[in-house]
Symmetry: C2
Subunit: 212 residues, 2 copies
Amino acid sequence: MLRASTTQTVKSGNKIGQMSLLLRKQFESIISLTDQEFDYILTHFSAKKLKKNSYLLEAGQHNVSKFFVNKGILKSYYIDKSGKEHILQFAEPDWWITDYKAFFNETEATIYVDCITDCELLSITKENLEKLARKFHKLEHFFRIKSNAGYVASQERILSMLKLTATERFDHFLDQYPNFMQKIPKYLIASYIGVSREMLSRMTKNVTNRTQ
Amino acid sequence: MLRASTTQTVKSGNKIGQMSLLLRKQFESIISLTDQEFDYILTHFSAKKLKKNSYLLEAGQHNVSKFFVNKGILKSYYIDKSGKEHILQFAEPDWWITDYKAFFNETEATIYVDCITDCELLSITKENLEKLARKFHKLEHFFRIKSNAGYVASQERILSMLKLTATERFDHFLDQYPNFMQKIPKYLIASYIGVSREMLSRMTKNVTNRTQ
């Protein structure tokens, strides 16, 4: 596994400003913010640019931050004792990603997060997120709504793992990540769904036939 | 399946008061409340008593509320096309339970919630929860923290389903629900872990041997 450490922290305020349009749009889909409020909020984030295949987070790491994806695609995954990767989540622009257990409980990370493509991210520490939520009731609301949505998505994933056939899990994946088939390697999709690459290849052909 | 409708709504304010000690304790593990604030909050809850095997929530139901467990044990589950039950969650006193997707998105329920034992519950509608969260910043905080915890627990369940062997899933179940082995039928535990009853019986003996 390539664990290149090519994180580049973007320090210039202007560059963070350019990377923050999507974040502001997401905030404003739930709450309203003045320019002044948003500028203040943004001072609590750091911008990061990472190259394809570099890592954002590793098992064993402390002081885990939460990351908003501005550009690129990432995966979070667990590595079991035999070295096998189990994919927990993908993230694309406008999504958040981290080791949620480590972030919320302020414990050591147990999962990995890697960049599948070149990525631009805005990161916030637990301390800064809690500070902003304390200062602005509406940000407390925003983060509650996002947490609810994450919780619901996780429950849906559990149900899909419990109840669905491989073909149904593939359909569920296409619903959840409609643009991913063209963007990420097929073996990652096969791993997420829990099928072999050959099985995924057959299912992909069936979907193409169904939609023609 | 027994779908007895034996819900009893408790209307007397005094009785709700007697049933609310655990709820107040949970609020105060995260935020502080005056008596007056708690009394006001409590007017937004209804108390329910249900008999063993009766249902609290059914697939297809609208206007789904969220339930705080004061007494008893419940299970939430999905029924697939072949009629097979897939257990999503158990809940015991001091836990919350509902169809979270239906509750947060105000859509039709797709899962069931049944009482495994006689139960006492405090229910709150989506409208009342949002009203309280808008009125009290600290309640917005409380519900965000609870939602984060639920999200983390769901992510842990996904990881346990992806990475663990049956024995490890059983150990994980014992960690998550330490008092349940004596309290609920073994076939429900087997269903939650995803093993046969015979396999569960063997694993139970192994645990007994390990702890002797």
